[in-house]
């Protein structure tokens, strides 16, 4: 099948303007439309006040669909947060969690979404317990594949086994392009330099990252204890040696901070997208800093888009701007401009 790659914006991207009350929900939709994107991804718990009650009302839904029509937008993905530790003294039972997942599937459907993002912390049996309802409602559950996780890994194999065992067409993956970082984002590097990191230590961290990319990352294993799995993954990818090198070069707190944060980013071969295309329903086009020349600092837009074209991808690339958190302590954040540039970068890659 020939590819039909569409562009979307996750309203997560506009969080700084929303926090400062410069944009409300409609303002975010208006800015999304201005970028030329045709899809919108929503975090209902972020921008719908008194969640989830308004979604149950016809009045709100009329307004929502009215806005979508006015701005020419299609709902691309509903981002759910399974709050299974709603209380501090216990974890919700399996039934409670399944009911919460079904509630979110229903809310997504009420707002016109056919994809729902769930987080890696969602237990497998909660997903499995929701599949029948997801199919009934026509909403596909997509597990976000966010660094340090990756496709074609023993972590993903656990989910693939479930897909094959159940034969479901209502569960798959939502890769986050943070797993396709060819180098570390410049806004992260600059943040640590402002905090006093030494150029020679920064160089060690940058070179180690490029080495990991060149060598190929050792992938994370499936483990319900995510903290343990993450630490093993970091050690297998040379964190111990890198920390020692930074320390030997006189690394202090800021240098160690940069070294440690470098493991938040990862590189996977874009071939992973082609291999798993039947199970990829949506994509978070993560971005950190897109320059005036429309080059994103870290994520491999051309390579990812090329892989999706080859695979015949039919879904959205949904801009998820996350550079703001590295800037906001020291300088203003302009998410509107960053999203605009990133959408243009995507457009050029898709149409080019």
């Amino acid at each position: 099948m020939s590819a039909d790659i569409k562009r979307s914006v996750s309203l997560y991207s506009y969080q700084d303007e929303y926090y400062n009350k410069q944009l409300d929900l409609e303002g975010c939709l208006r800015e999304t439309a201005k970028t030329g994107a045709t899809g919108v991804e929503l975090l209902a718990e972020q921008m719908i006040r008194r969640f989830p009650l308004p979604i149950e009302t016809e009045e709100f839904r009329e307004q929502w669909f009215g806005w979508l029509q006015k701005y020419g937008l299609t709902p691309s993905c509903y981002d759910a947060f399974l709050e299974f530790k709603l209380y501090d003294n216990r974890t919700l039972t399996l039934s409670e969690q399944v009911n919460m997942m079904k509630r979110d599937i229903r809310l997504a459907s009420l707002l016109g979404f056919t994809n729902l993002r769930t987080l890696v912390s969602t237990p497998m049996n909660v997903i499995e317990g929701s599949l029948e309802y997801a199919e009934k409602m026509g909403v596909r559950i997509g597990l976000e594949v966010h660094a340090p996780f990756s496709l074609n890994s023993s972590w993903a194999d656990g989910y693939m086994e479930m897909i094959q065992r159940t034969g479901t067409k209502y569960f798959g993956f939502i890769p986050d392009m943070g797993i396709f970082c060819k180098n570390l984002p410049d806004v992260v590097r600059e943040k640590w330099l402002r905090r006093g990191a030494k150029p020679e230590c920064v160089k060690i961290v940058d070179e180690c990252y490029l080495e990991r990319v060149a060598k190929g990352f050792t992938k994370i294993k499936y483990d319900l204890n995510l903290g343990k799995a993450n630490m093993e993954y970091r050690m297998a990818n040379g964190m111990g040696e890198m920390m020692a090198a930074v320390e030997k070069a006189g690394g202090k707190e800021a240098d160690m901070g940069y070294a440690f944060e470098s493991f938040v980013f990862s590189w996977s071969d874009p071939q992973d997208l082609i291999d798993n295309i039947d199970y990829i329903y949506h994509t978070h086009a993560k971005c950190y800093n897109t320059h005036e020349d429309y080059v994103e600092t870290a994520t491999a837009i051309p390579e990812v888009v090329a892989a999706f074209k080859k695979a015949g991808y039919q879904g959205f690339l949904s801009t998820e701007y996350e550079g703001g958190e590295h800037l906001r302590a020291d300088s203003p954040v302009d998410s509107i401009e960053q999203v605009r540039r990133h959408q243009e970068a995507l457009r050029r890659a898709i149409e080019g």
Partner: protein, 130 residues
């Protein structure tokens, strides 16, 4: 979310009840990127001029209703979500409140989104005048 200034600069004041100053209050935004139920707030520590308030003396007011931190543990209703980007009022019971003049505040928020293996901790400091 790290690094945001989260106080309302206009909202530092003493709180009077029945003609007596019973404490002080200020307004802050939650340091996270979505609205939350109060039940996932693990702690709010308030230190003014080096003096940290006891947990039982800290109150949080959302939508006109004041909760103790102990009560917050079970508050999940939609009417009392701490909405993203909205100020909530923090009241600290302290007989006589704060003296007129300049003060320094450090507030520590601890919020526990279920999917994170750790709590989101955010400190914010400010100088203000009563």
């Amino acid at each position: 979310m790290a690094g945001r200034q989260y106080y309302n600069p206009e909202a530092f004041r003493n709180v009077t009840e029945d003609g007596k100053v019973i404490g002080y209050s200020f307004e802050i935004k939650a340091q996270y990127y979505r609205g939350i139920t109060l039940s996932i707030i693990r702690d709010l520590k308030v230190t003014v001029d080096g003096e940290t308030a006891d947990r039982e003396n800290v109150r949080l007011t959302i939508n006109g209703v004041m909760f103790t931190l102990e009560e917050c543990r079970t508050v999940i209703d939609s009417d009392y979500r701490w909405e993203f980007g909205d100020y909530a009022t923090v009241t600290v019971l302290k007989e006589g409140g704060l003296t007129d003049g300049p003060h320094h505040i450090l507030c520590h928020q601890s919020i526990a989104p279920s999917y994170m293996p750790f709590t989101v901790e955010a400190d914010c400091e400010a100088d203000f005048t009563i």
